[in-house]
Symmetry: D2
Subunit: 224 residues, 4 copies
């Protein structure tokens, strides 16, 4: 079942009340189309967003810690109680140590939370898949925020990633992201064997986010 | 005007609903005694706590970033909109680069938020004071969580810190923390010239937090 | 062909002239027994050690950088020109980001240097093997420096690691380390399918390093 | 007494044998002019450079550690025994935590090594000076490697830094760096009250390094 995850990053357009508003737009499209649209707001906004909408909410990051003495860090239990059902891990703007990625995936597994590990190339995707997360999301850093879609510019990297991840562990799904701004980019991603897209500025900074999310969702329903 | 800041760290006893409950206890003592009791819950709990109580709420950490591409980081604007009036900076469990501490203090100043820079000794406190935060909070890491109160075990370090900070910038207040569990530890801190205490396990892990906060608050009212 | 790698860490007993002296002892045992004994001195000592002995010398760490603007970082070319033939990567005392491990392994491959990726458990070893280093070295952090040998205390973890690494990529060899102080620990490591050991305090802090290295080397010759 | 410190960074032009060669050129100019020209080669090159020349040699970085279990880190004792007489600290390409800067400065002081703390603006310079290093070196990161000289483009920042550093501690000298490529940039730096310059590409990447170092040295002798 295809999925769109919208990463709110630390954009002004998706902070505080605006995060709630954008999440309601995503929820509207979900209701209209039935497509799984998930959102990843900032930590301080998770609770408000979860209280306002019923679509799945992800944290953007959690730390490899247990409850205790970790001032200023992000505890899985805190984002789970706030309503998040999963978390991004190792986003290109928040790269993590290999051993910490393993610890975080293990913690999400024990806590029935969905783990989405971001990766920068096919080799790293293969290594990440060996750690048995739920999802690996390929995002070549050089394309992030450019509007040059990974699914159309680097189709072979996406395809290699899908193949390698599947080979290591058929239970791990692959997403792709970076430069996704149009429905056709989403369609291209699905054609390459991914389960969907991780998108940020393409939606958050769109003049009309509803229109863009709808276009993405339709690309998914058309592909099914 | 003396102050008690309660750092919730990532303790189970102060996560989610328990963070709200503990904050209400702190608010009760504030109402009963008039003493300024502030709390620093986890990021995901700031909004809930701010919605539930009227005492000042601090973030435990913010990142040296502007709105934009900083997935998984903590934006000042996000914690401010959630209701925080200030932030801890450079806690011993979240040490920061010197240049980032300067950037964060500058950001809090522009945004009218209160900056509390944590330090490990007198020399570092002096350097931190040069950056003109509102508050420097000395916490010798080796005493944190031990129940051995800095204000009684290392009075000369606290005294030196108060003197050095005042010398660098008379507008910067000094707190101390680490091992504070009793009213007499708070009284000792005030006698050494501090403006109060930063406390964590002494309150969060107390069997009866109301009793301990009340004891701390009374130590403050008795000293005035 | 089995191998012993001696990690000098930042021990006083293996800094500067003492690093050269210890390396000559290792070289003596190599000459006497024919066993491959490699050493990993500190960065500032690589050149002196390489000038003094003919056994293989490893760096303890290199950074994921190309020549250029990276003040204070470790460039592959600098340690290679100093005489190192390979490098440790991701030691438990110098953990790295997943994407940086991949970059460093790729750089060593292009430069014909030997890559030894340290790991903390079987899952991480499997992920590391997917990145195609020459060697994966399992070292459970909790046993490092304890004298409790991983090869005798956690044989199942070593065995699992050997199996998983071989499954992912049969060209990747496995070492193990942590708590190795006796010849029988080395023999146990070989029996579990490893290609040898990564050892530090067991040799560097030994009263008679020559005796201990000899004991290790004999465990290897006896196993062949 | 004015000083020029040449930071070799990880430039190809100043790695291995080329580091030794460039150091000999610097030594030649020192002999011809009497001006203090120091060099900061990569860690793996410190020993070779110190063995080849008699001018002062700095490390580019050391870690806040004591001898022991710190694989892949840089021990003060290792660079000192290799011949370094001091170290850069907190370069813009290797920023450090505030508490680590304090620890490193304290370690250099105990070991009679010269500490040069790099800073990015006047406020951070003031804080660094409070830690009592020997030298604070202001380098606005946005000018590094540009050829736009800090001493001519941002004279007020250099002047403020000199004033603030002197006010905090008259024993701390100030250098400046970034964009320094000509003798007149050095002269401008001295006119603003600095004790000299920290320079990298302006010399390392010069077609004729001897000529540029000589030009810098003459700017110093002319100013005296």
């Amino acid at each position: 079942m295809p999925i769109i995850i919208v990463n709110y990053k630390t954009y002004s357009e998706a902070t505080g009340k605006k995060a709630v508003k954008l999440s309601k737009i995503a929820e509207d499209v979900n209701k209209e189309t039935g497509v799984n649209i998930s959102v990843a707001p900032q930590l301080a906004d998770i609770k408000s967003v979860c209280d306002a909408v019923s679509i799945p909410v992800f944290a953007q990051h959690i730390d490899p810690i247990l409850p205790g003495n970790s001032t200023g860090h992000v505890l899985l239990e805190s984002v789970k109680e706030a309503g998040a059902i999963g978390t991004l891990i190792n986003h290109s703007e928040r790269r993590l140590k290999l051993c910490d990625i393993e610890t975080i995936i293990a913690r999400t597994r024990e806590s029935d939370m969905v783990s989405v590990v971001c990766t920068n190339n096919a080799a790293v995707s293969e290594a990440a898949a060996a750690l048995k997360p739920d999802i690996v999301s390929l995002e070549p850093p050089e394309l992030i925020g450019t509007g040059i879609p990974v699914s159309k510019t680097k189709p072979e990297v996406v395809k290699d990633t899908v193949t390698l991840v599947r080979h290591v562990n058929p239970d791990v799904a692959t997403l792709c992201g970076a430069g996704i701004t149009k429905g056709e980019d989403v369609a291209a991603a699905l054609n390459l064997g991914t389960m969907g897209v991780l998108v940020a500025s393409g939606i958050v900074k769109a003049k009309d986010p509803h229109k863009v999310i709808m276009e993405f969702a339709e690309a998914i329903t058309n592909s099914m």
